[in-house]
Each structure stands twice: as structure tokens, then as C-alpha cells.
Point group: D2
Chain length 339, copies 4
């Protein structure tokens, strides 16, 4: 049975892997100072229309989030994030482990609004409290929703007004930028955030996140090294990102993932199921009667329902560049049998 | 005008200060290993009926809270606290600065219930999340409320069930234990918590918090020293706590503070004001029309209203061992004039 | 010109890379809980004759060192290491960044002796000092030397006597275990250390370090996740270590690296050069007149001499599984021309 | 028997204590924002001829050292200090606990020279190493020696050249500034350091260290609060420092302490004993045959010899404002009897 549990269930897109094979025996210097990384940096600066941006390559998402965040904060400064934000719940307190509080706000759809930001800023007014300094958002969010350009512009204005950095976690940025309804572009992100990441792990790379930093952060590589986030064979990241951005592969893969997700969504909706939050991207959160999910599990689907009430749970479905259309069709047939 | 802004607006109770004067030229060894500290430890072990307890003396409240908490936690472990808890908002992220997340729960009256604890425990089930390990509560709470013995017993059962430490911040413990409705005693606290503090700063000492620790914590003095929380002339803490616990001075002072607070409360209620939360202790949170508080400020009272809506604010009144009954009467007269 | 600058100048051994290609489209769960990792753990438990050991896979060396170290220490505990130890100088203070002091000892050959350990232990006797708790050593050391079984046994006895953990950094363990004069085996390491690492990055993997932990450390995966050291596609580590330990590939590659290094060493010695410390392994530190190194650099060799005096520098030569014998011969010819 | 073990064996100078008694019932606001602190700040700005300096009051020495240091450093930055420096050995790793490495240099007399600083700076040249950013020195040093103006000027030039902050720990600054041979003044210290402390604990206060900061450090109070270093009744520090600097009391006390120390030194030298390092200040390190120290201990002197060889140890003698001349005479007589 095909697993929809995640978008990192397979290795890399064959073209990415082939690029690693092709360059395998070339000697380079280490730690991301090689020519592949340098070329990949140039490609990203060009795609984001941010010729002055610093571009760094890290291995994973948690690593990227906390190293970027702690590199921008003083010890008494704090982060603002949605309660559902990845750094709030799913990173084992990585940000706090660097000494910084994460001030959370409640959000129905996983998105943060200027009002939420302001409620935190207003509540932290003296030296007896932490000083909020960075807004963390993710696109797509942890529940699959996406930001519009107007929303991001409003957040940046709010951040500017309160002296906050705006950091966008793009672990699933490919899916966001190719989702129906999206009107953001890479240049928009470079213009509207102080730093954002472009996720490779969940969109066709073996691993790797690129960080685009438009705020000065001269010693970021010191931070990376200190936190074990500087890969010895840094070339592996450069080679992969070069492959990802060749001929739009990155966006083509994300578009495919979204298409598979929307087929799943529409198919499940047609079968009468509903969703906990409307998502246009590669994560779909469906409300499923327990007996249906149990039957699917019995068939071999590795579902992990999150209990909603006595009879129902929320099941996350994730698609990727590797999801075959046939697997979607087969699942929908199996689902129909289980209803 | 007498200031009701805080319970640390004066120095020490004259008997405490006299004890420092009387012992001033006696030579002792440093760092709390002197005889005064040792005697004070024995007195506290006796009063708490906890002959095996470790007793440590620290200088201030924030220091006490974070040193105790971090000494009991592993790096991936977290604290549970009320959103209004002192460590959540008013200690500039001191706990997070030691690397630990504070998981907060909403509470109307500043008190934590077993259900709140369980909601956090249930939400942190895997290695991708922090592992809640310590419940922080305060008595009195930050809004002046107190725990009953039944409530504390229920919390301890809940903590035992989930492998949590129970730490009670007693910065205002004197006020709690002498408040109308209180049925807890020092021995109850030693029996029902793993560690609790007995606040001196806010009840008649120049400074000082005693920590009673019934959970093994062999290297606590290493933690104290590392965090700058071991006073060179540690004797100052021993001498003060000996004076505080001689002839019930500690409880007499707290009882006086409560009495003054309740006179304020009853006087203000009689004048038609209401309170944001009912408090039997030395902190009273009164809802006051802005024009009233402005008039009182104009008279010289250093009030700091916390805006509630367009026309009203919440004003905290705090009394102490040093509050003269005449000051209460005078304030009530002045308030009447300002209504 | 072939670069002898490092043992991570190329990608992976073709067999390792092929294993990644072969398994690329298999779906697995994430975070190292997949079957490849589980098989690799079993292989390593078997090779080390440590059926109860915990085996974890991390991405890089700095990451491995600091996550292992901080997972074993309380906040007031410290590490003992040679001044030349990788964690002392070359990891941007990663251990200190987790709050722990590294107490260093001077060592001519990069190796630590029981006397050195005891000098640190004796100097740290009270709560005003850190408490040394873990001895960090590396094999091969940072200057290419190796430990004998007798030396490691003596260190373990010394550690046991003083309640210290013994952690061996095996970033270049392959080279150590296949060096002339080595009498240590993987089972010896599992028996004599509390934790040790088996380096993949510098011996034929794209990346990856395996940690063999014989001391209980139940929440190590929490530590990994918190520090961004848990790879989403953890399978990549399992697949690589399976390939490394199939048919002795790991040891064959290391043996080749050593052989190339010893040819370099003997060739340079025959040409009259001497070495700053005798090394039987894949790192050779040669004392080279500046004019010779300048001529070689002019020929295209990327040498980085470390100034010794006005006329000479120390140049590190490193070989790997990928070093062709022809490159060694060519270099020796070029060197002869430059003398 | 009078104890020469420390300069914090008694309480406070009677004038300091009287000032606390005199102001005890005055109401002030908390946290060092009161008028006493403000006046004390003005006095110190005036005495140091540094009208723009920030002046902060903290409780103890370890606290002061680590809060100042961490407030000035980025996570990847490190401290340079003598191996014998208080922060290196006697503060339980407080600086490392905030994440910063202390790079130590060997020094016979406890003093740091520009050459020592440069050796550390040169050895830390890349992003793989910490970046030294602050030089920590103490005056008097931990072995009783003092800096001259020329030495301090040379250190500041060296710091400027390498972009380092210069921080001087003045826990025993009174003794330094009144020692024979001293040519430094408070204005010199304000001019030549970026921050220095004026120790109260070891010179007549109950407790308290003043920090004079000439480098901008706008959020220092946030750092203080976060680390539990902001005293609720901050007035206690202001009142004490006002008393210390009234009519030269601070310097008179230190002069007395030095005089007593030099009498001890000269008396012991006359009896044939020698010293491990020549000291003009209130700490004297005498080389004493074990049988002599044992006889003195038997008489009741609380000596703590630090073993030097089989027959001798080094014994520290410390005097203070409270040391009576008669105690010195009595000790010298007793010593003579024990030789």
C-alpha cells in the first residue's frame, strides 16, 4: 500500500540523485565553500532577485529554524509564533534550548495576523519580560494553508512598526508557491521577509534547506558550525539545489504533489468526508470515522488518526513529487470499500 | 501618601534588622556553611516536620525559581505553569534562558488543576516534543488566590501519576498560610511538594528565599554557585530566617498584611468597587474607573492601572507587615473623595 | 593536482552511493526508525559484540560530539580533553554552547594519559568548581596517533576510579583500527568506552557517524531532535552504514587510506623531510621549508602550511579511500622537483 | 582565634549597616530604580569622571562577572582570561553555562599581558573556532598582585587593536587602588576598560558590586533580571554604596586591610617564611612547612594549606577592614611559637 504519511518517505528525485552520482569523484573543498554551493547561491540570488542576499545551506528543518532564530536574537529576546507552529510543538524545544522563549498565539488556520503579533508585543512592555524580536511563520503552514501577498505585506509592515524580524519557514515552500490561490513569488519572499528557507527535504532532495537572508548576519557560519549545522561535504547541498532549480524541477515536483493532494481531497469530499481546515496544498487533514480508518489500516495503510471525539479522528494525508497518480486512485477505491 | 504598590517597598522588619546588627562582627565562614544558616535549616526542618529535607537559602525569587527548576530537569524536559505564573511572564524568560520550555495553561484564578496538567501531558507524547517534568504553582498565586489542601493533594496525585515534580513558589507563602480559608500548613507543603520556597523578601526580610527540597538533589549547591545564587556572606540569610521564625514573627507579619488587605478590600467594596478575582490575601485587584484612579494619582498615590476597557482599569493593591492601619484608613477616605 | 587537504574532498565510495540509488524509491518511515537503520544497528551490535548497546546515526562529527556529551552531563559537569582535541579547538565552542566547560590538558602526541586526567580531577574538588564527568579522546587523534589496548584499558580504569564517562570520538576510527601497531578492535571499544562513534564522513560515506552507546541514555533521541541532529530521511544513514560494513568495505577503505599515507610519509622521509609527530595513520604532519611549500603551491597543490618558525611550516597531508596511488607517486615526483 | 581565611568573614562596616537602619522604613520603588540607587550612580559617575557611564548594582561577584560577560558577547564569542582567573576556576563554570568558552593563558603572577592576548587571538582565526571578544582581568588578581597604569594602557591598546572588550573584575578593587605601588585611579579604570566592577562584598558592604559600563549596553537590566541578578529591594545596594563612598570610607577600609596584610607579610618574612608570589595587597600567599601549619591549626587558626610538595603548603592569609591590629600581633606571636 502506498503511504501518504509524509513527503519524506522516499529518497530523492532521480535527477537530484543523478547529479550526486555525476559529481561524486570531483574533489572540492569542504563546508560549503566549494563551487557547486557557490553556483547554487548565485542561482538562488537570481531566482529571488536578491543579489545581496546571503544564502546558506543546512541539512534539516529543525536545525535551520533554530540556528537562524538564535543567530538573530539577543539572550533576552523572544520569538512570536502560532501555537501550531513547528517550532512551538514539534522540535523538542530546540529554540528554548538556545535560551529563547517562544510566545505563542492561538490561530484557527495556522496563520499569524498582525493583530496576534500586536497582542504579544503589547503584553511585553518591561525589563521584567522577554522582548519579542522575531516573528516566525511557515508557508505552507503546519495545517496546509498558505499566505497571500497582501497578508505577508501586512505582516511585514507590522514587524517593521515593532522592530521585529520576519522569518518564514519554507520547509514546504514549493507546495505553497504552486498551490491554487498563491500569489507570492520567490522575489516577494526575499523582499518581505528578513530571512526565509527553501525546503529541499520535503520536495525532492535527499536532504537540505536553503536559507535566504536579507538581514545582515555576518557570523552566521560561526553559528552553523557551533550547532553542528555545517556539513563537511557541503557540496552535497550545492549539487542538490543546483539540480532542484534546473529547468523548474523544484516547482514541477511541488505542482505534482499539490495535484495529487487535491485529487485526494476532491475524491474524499466526493465520498462525503470533510476536512478540519481547507487546504490547497500537499497536506490534507480529513475527518474520518474511526471505523473507516481502522479498516484502511487493516488493509495496510499506515494511518495515524489524531482523536477528535469518541467516533472520529483527524488523519493527515501528505503527497509528494513521488506520489504516483495510481496510488491516489487505488486509495480512493479502497476508501470507498471501507466506508 | 502611603504606597500600596508592593510588599517590598520598605526594608526589613526591625527585629530582622536588629538580628543583623547583633551578629555583625561575629566571624563566620562563607557561602551558607556557617552556624546561623545551619540553625535556620534546623528550625525550618522542624517547622516543616521534614527532618530529611534539604534547606537552601537564596537571595531572590526569580533566582530561586529558575535555579530550582533547572536543577531538576534534563535538557529536553519542560515545565507546566499557569499563563499568569510568575515564571511565564515576569521573569524575562529566566527558565527558557536555562534551556527549558514553559508550557502554559489558561487559568481564570491563577490556579492550576489536574485537568490542565493532563491536557499538557497528553499533548506531549513523542521525542519530537519536549517532555513535561515539573509543575510550577505559586501560593498565593499571582492574582492573590490560595490553594486548599484538597487541591494540593489532587495536584500531587496527578504529578505522581505522570512522573512530574511539584514545585510551589512561596514568594508570598506567609500571606497564603495565614489567609482566611487556608487549611495548608508548612508540614503539608513539605509532604505534598517535591520542593517549595518560603519567601522572605515580601514578608519582612531585607531579602531571602528559603528552599525546602524533599526530592534528592545532591548537587544543588553547584547549581547555585554556577548561577551566581550563592551569597558570599550567606550568614545574612541564616540570621534573617532565624529572626523570621522566632516567636512566629513570620506568620504575625503575614497576618497583619492580610488584615490590612482585607480592610482595603472591604472598604473599597463598601464604596461600590468590585474585584477582578476574589482574593483573601495581601494582593487585591480592584476594577477602578479611570477617572477615579487618575484623581488618586493626582493626590499622590502611585497607582499603575492595567487597562481593562475604555473606561476602567485593574489596579493592584498590596499590603505588607509594614502597612500602617492609618494608611489604609487614609486611603479609603481619599478614595471616597475621588469617587 | 590531487588534493591531500582532507579525507572528505570526494563524495562517497561508489558502492555506498549505489546502495542509495538502489533503495531510493522504497518508502520508509522517517527519523531513523526504518528497517535499513534497524538492520544497520544490528550489524553494528554484532560487529562490536555489544548486543545491548544503543546505536544511533547522526549526520556530522561536531554534532555527534556535542550531542553525546551534553546528553551525559548535568549542567555543573565538565569534560576533560586534550588541548588539541577536536572539541577544544575546532568546533566553535559547541560543547560550551550547551553550557559545559572543557578542561584541557597539554599533550605532545594528542593522546590523554591517566596522569593528565588525575591532574584535572584533583584540581576540581569543590562546589565552586565544575565537576569533571566525561573524558573525551579521539582515535586516531587530531595529529594522527593511535591508542593501544593497554592505554585504553588504563584510561577506562582511571575513569572508573573517578566516576568519569569515557567517550571516544571515532571520526577517523577506520584509519585507527587498520593502522600498523593498532591492537584495538570494535568489541574492545564497546567494552572499554561508555560511548564511541564510528565515522562515516571521512571514510567513504556521503556523511554519517554511528554512535555506539553502552551507558544507559534512554532519551538520547530527544536530545538529537532538540539539537537538529535527527535526519528526516534517516534511512540514508542506515543504508550507508549497511553498505560500509558489507564485506569489510569500511576497513578496506581505511587500510587503503593508511597505505597511501605511509607511502607519502616514507617517500617524503626518503627525500629528507621530517615529521612533527610520528603517525601511522592517514594524517601526516610534515615539516616543510617555506620555499618548498610555496613551490608546490605554485604547481597547484592546495597546501596550507601552519607556520613553525621563520623558515618552516607544518603541512598536513591526508589520504582517503579515494586517493589514487598514482597521485601519491606524482606528488612525490613533484616534491623532489621542488626541493 | 581570629580567622584570616577571608575578607568576607564579618558583616558590614558599622557605618554601612547604620545607613541601612536609618533608611529602613522609607518607602521606595523596587529593582534599583529608587533615589538611593540614583544618587549612588551619580556619586560613582562623579568619582570615575565618567558622566555618561551606565552604573548598575548587583549582589555578588560571580553573578556580576557572568552577567556582564554574557551581555557583551554573541553566542560564538569567547573570553580570554588567566588560567588563575576567578571565572576560569572558581565560579563553577558560570560563564560556560551561558554558552561561552573561556580561553585561558598561563600566568605566573595572575596578570595578563598583551603577548598572552595575542597568542589566543592568533590561534582563533576561522569560523571553526570561537571568536575571542572580551579580555577578563582582575585587580587585585587572584594571587594579590596589581596592575600598573602602563600595563593597563598596554592591554587596552591591545584590545582595541583586536576588537576586544576589556572587563576588569574589581571584587578587591579597594585593596588594589590603595596598595603600595598602585598608580591607577577610578577615572583611569573608567577610561581604560569597557566595564569594571567595584566590589563591596569584600570591602565593608553586606554584599554588592557596582558595575561601571562605558560601552553601550542598553538592555543590561534585561540580562540582570533574566539571570536573577536584579534585587527586589535594590535600594539596599544604593544605600550601601552611598555609605561606602561617603568621606572616603571605601578607600580607608581598603588601606587598613592592606596595612594589616603587609604587617602580616613583613612579620612572617622576619620569621623566615617566604611567599609564592610577592603581593602588595590584602591577600598574602605564604609557603609554610606542614608541621607549622598543623601546629597553628591545632591552636585554632582555620588554615587551609594548598599542598606544594611533601613538606610544605601554600597558605592564603586575607585581611579586611575588620581585621584588628591586635589579631595580627597575636598571630605573629603564635606563629613564632609554632616554628
Amino acid at each position: 500500500m502506498y503511504s501518504f504519511r509524509n513527503d519524506y518517505s522516499e529518497g530523492a528525485h532521480p535527477k537530484v540523485l543523478q547529479a550526486l552520482v555525476d559529481t561524486n569523484l570531483v574533489q572540492t573543498c569542504g563546508y560549503g565553500l566549494d563551487n557547486y554551493c557557490e553556483q547554487a547561491r548565485q542561482v538562488i540570488r537570481s531566482l529571488t532577485q536578491a543579489p545581496q542576499a546571503d544564502v546558506h545551506f543546512l541539512v534539516g528543518g529543525t536545525q535551520t529554524n533554530y540556528v537562524v532564530i538564535q543567530s538573530l536574537l539577543q539572550p533576552y529576546e523572544a520569538v512570536i509564533a502560532a501555537q501550531s507552529g513547528h517550532i512551538s510543538v514539534h522540535e523538542t524545544g530546540a529554540v528554548e534550548a538556545t535560551g529563547h522563549k517562544v510566545c505563542t498565539v492561538s490561530s484557527q488556520d495556522g496563520k499569524v495576523t498582525p493583530q496576534m503579533v500586536e497582542s504579544v508585543v503589547k503584553g511585553h512592555s518591561s525589563e521584567h519580560m522577554v522582548s519579542p524580536k522575531l516573528l516566525y511563520i511557515s508557508d505552507t503552514t503546519e495545517v496546509g494553508t498558505i499566505y497571500t501577498k497582501a497578508e505577508l505585506e501586512a505582516l511585514r509592515r507590522c514587524c517593521d512598526e515593532h522592530g521585529l524580524y520576519l522569518f518564514l519557514d519554507g520547509a514546504r515552500l514549493g507546495s505553497a508557491l504552486t498551490a491554487p490561490g498563491n500569489d507570492l513569488t520567490l522575489p516577494d519572499l526575499a523582499r518581505l521577509t528578513h530571512a526565509f528557507s527553501i525546503g529541499g527535504t520535503k520536495n525532492g532532495a535527499l536532504f537540505g534547506e536553503a536559507v535566504v537572508m536579507t538581514v545582515p548576519n555576518e557570523h552566521f557560519r560561526w553559528h552553523m558550525k557551533q550547532r553542528g549545522a555545517m556539513l563537511a561535504k557541503g557540496r552535497l547541498l550545492g549539487v542538490q539545489f543546483l539540480a532542484l532549480f534546473q529547468n523548474d524541477l523544484y516547482f514541477d515536483m511541488a505542482r505534482h504533489a499539490n495535484e495529487m493532494a487535491l485529487r485526494l481531497r476532491d475524491g474524499m469530499a466526493a465520498l462525503g468526508l470533510s476536512f478540519s481546515v481547507p487546504s490547497p496544498s500537499n497536506q490534507q487533514f480529513v475527518i474520518m470515522p474511526n471505523q473507516v480508518s481502522q479498516r484502511l489500516i487493516a488493509k495496510g495503510y499506515p494511518l495515524e488518526p489524531d482523536p477528535l471525539d469518541a467516533s472520529c479522528g483527524i488523519v493527515r494525508f501528505v503527497t509528494s513529487w513521488a506520489t504516483p497518480p495510481e496510488a491516489v486512485e487505488e486509495f480512493l477505491r479502497d476508501l470507498k470499500d471501507c466506508l
